[in-house]
Amino acid sequence: MKTNNVILETATKVILFIILLFSVYMFFAGHYEPGGGFIGGLMASGAIVLLLIAYDLKTVRKILPFDFKKVTALGLLFAAGTAAGGLFFDKPLLTHWFTYVYPPILGKMSLHTAVIFDTGVFLVVVGVTMTIIQTIGESE
């Protein structure tokens, strides 16, 4: 997958940014509107795939020097950690805690442990998709 198309590369950079932003939006919207960690994660990895198409595996590896399997594990750790967190407060597993804060200017905001859990989901999805795509890509 080697394409040295300058236009594509430039366009990719822009689109990539937009998609990543959108994926973050989707991720945070999840609790209130359609969206969530899963969709967000898929979007983000979609963006990275785009990067792959524009450049090649090696370049992407340079830009994102992660072992995506470890990203997956990290995501699981987040999710499982949030889940187990409840135990330390003598609550059942996965008990969430949330509150609303009203900082000036920004208005009503919610703080929710579910977000951390969802971050885990996000990371796992990114990790998994990227692992799969990288592995298959390398084998070819």
Partner: protein
């Protein structure tokens, strides 16, 4: 609030996650795995003791009262199954250290191994029918990976078949849950039981019951749904074979037991009658398979099917006594099957073949292996005072008491052919003229042998110490035959 119930799930989960970070360093992985496995076992034993002294343990996850959240339920049955699973996991792990090979170890063998244990423990512990599906998938996904890890020809070929069958059975699982949800509008198992009992005898529920039997029957390998099993279990290396043989089908058996005691008790004549017929045919067909081959793997594999039939015959009889027998037999079979698979694994390692016709005379150089095998074989056949006999006696006694003479006779006589099949291995593999094998030197088996020896000792103690176990097992059977106890504990009515 007792968090104990979550530990047999969380410890393997975290162990698996941590192991992913250390995939390059085999030694560190082994240590982490050992510690994780021992902790799981300890937690499971502790949980079991708590269940025994304080009754059924539950946890409403995310602090949503049942039936709205997911509830974890550890009754006596599920907690002793978790103990057994953790024990077998630990032992197979020990065996793996010297047999699975560095290559596999570096390619996420251990994390996936722990995911498998997690899935199995989860399926035993969950009190929510859809969550059970999720744990089934964890377990299955881990089993696909373990089965195919290494990517040899036979592994790939059999993995495809195994995958396909299980994809279908998972699909059927979800539609069964969907049908059930349509009728009763809930997913919590205790709540389902309450609503089904309120509903009384209903045609559609009976149909759903049969569908559940098919779903779990495919996993549990009952007639006529077991065809995938001999091929799939033939492919992987010994410790994986042992893990599969001891655990995976038993999850299916457990699920049938659970649903056929908790949910579908309205039309026993039909549903349990069907189960009874199928279980008897399962025994017969399994026994025929076990005596048909001169291949050590095949012989033990078909013996799995026999045992499934025996356990389910007890479930189908559906009296407290028969259920006690089934639970006794279930635990016994998990332990002894793991031991046997590991033992034949060592035989294969020494001789380089699984064909009995090419073996012989192993007893002279490997007496410890031979005698461990001999004892394990007798335990499998249910010779007192080893582990298998009590379950079998109870199952047969209850069967006859319920008027099922033929079925009980089949259970009893199956022991003879089971014995014949495993003694065939003893007489052709260990006895007879020693042969020339690829490896001329004596293969060091002491470490490998530790694993099956531990299990065989457990089997012996299990039989001798039946009195100590009896209250535990009968508590488990009591809960099965009297779902009210389970329901009360979960819904806290």
């Amino acid at each position: 609030m007792n968090s104990l119930i979550t530990l047999p799930l969380l410890i393997p989960l975290f162990t698996a996650i941590i192991l992913v970070f250390f995939n390059k360093n085999v030694t560190v992985q082994r240590w982490i795995a050992t510690i994780g496995s021992l902790l799981t076992l300890a937690a499971a034993v502790w949980l079991s003791a708590t269940v025994y002294t304080q009754g059924i343990q539950t946890m409403d996850l995310s602090n949503w009262q049942a039936p709205f959240g997911i509830t974890l339920v550890s009754d006596m049955l599920s907690s002793i199954l978790v103990v057994t699973t953790s024990l077998i996991g630990f032992v197979c792990l020990l065996y793996s250290f010297r047999s699975i090979g560095v290559e596999r170890e570096k390619h996420y063998y251990y994390p996936v191994f722990f995911f498998l244990i997690l899935g199995v423990n989860g399926a035993f512990t969950t009190g929510d029918i859809f969550n059970m599906f999720v744990f089934f998938e964890v377990m299955l996904m881990a089993s696909y990976v373990l089965l195919v890890l290494g990517g040899t020809k036979i592994q790939l070929r059999e993995t495809i078949k195994y995958l396909l069958v299980n994809v279908i059975s998972s699909g059927l699982f979800v539609i069964a849950v969907a049908y059930l949800y349509s009728v009763v509008g809930t997913l919590n198992m205790a709540h389902i039981s309450v609503r089904l009992n309120e509903l009384g005898q209903s045609g559609i529920v009976t149909v759903i019951a049969v569908l559940f039997l098919i779903v779990f029957g495919i996993k549990g390998a009952i007639f006529p749904l077991y065809f995938w099993l001999p091929g799939a279990y033939y492919a992987p290396p010994a410790p994986i074979m042992a893990l599969f043989g001891a655990l995976l089908t038993k999850v299916g058996v457990y699920s049938i037991t659970r649903t056929y005691t908790l949910f579908f008790t309205q039309d026993i004549g039909y549903t349990h009658g069907l189960l009874e017929i199928l279980s008897i045919i399962t025994i017969i067909i399994g026994v025929i398979g076990a005596i048909a081959y001169f291949d050590v793997k095949k012989i033990i594999i078909y013996n799995i099917i026999v045992a499934v039939g025996v356990i389910l015959f007890g479930v189908a009889t559906f009296t407290t006594e028969s259920l006690t027998g089934s639970v006794f037999y279930l635990i016994h079979d998990m332990i002894i099957k793991a031991a046997l698979f590991l033992l034949i694994g060592i035989m294969i390692k020494i001789t380089g073949t699984s064909n009995l016709r090419e073996m012989g005379g192993l007893i002279n150089r490997y007496p410890g292996l031979a005698w461990t095998y001999f004892v394990a074989a007798l335990a499998l056949a249910g010779i007192p005072p080893l582990s298998g006999f009590l379950g079998k006696i109870l199952i047969v006694r209850a069967g006859i008491d319920a008027g099922n003479y033929w079925g009980s006779g089949v259970v009893l006589l199956s022991s003879l052919l089971v014995l014949f099949s495993v003694m065939k291995i003893f007489m052709n593999g260990f006895w007879g003229k020693a042969r020339e094998y690829k490896q001329q030197e004596k293969v060091p088996v002491r470490w490998l042998l530790t694993a099956p020896v531990i299990l065989t000792i457990c089997a012996v103690l299990y039989g001798l110490g039946s009195e100590a176990l009896y209250p535990i097992i009968s508590t488990a059977a009591e809960t099965l035959s009297n779902p009210e106890i389970y329901i009360k504990a979960v819904l806290k009515e």
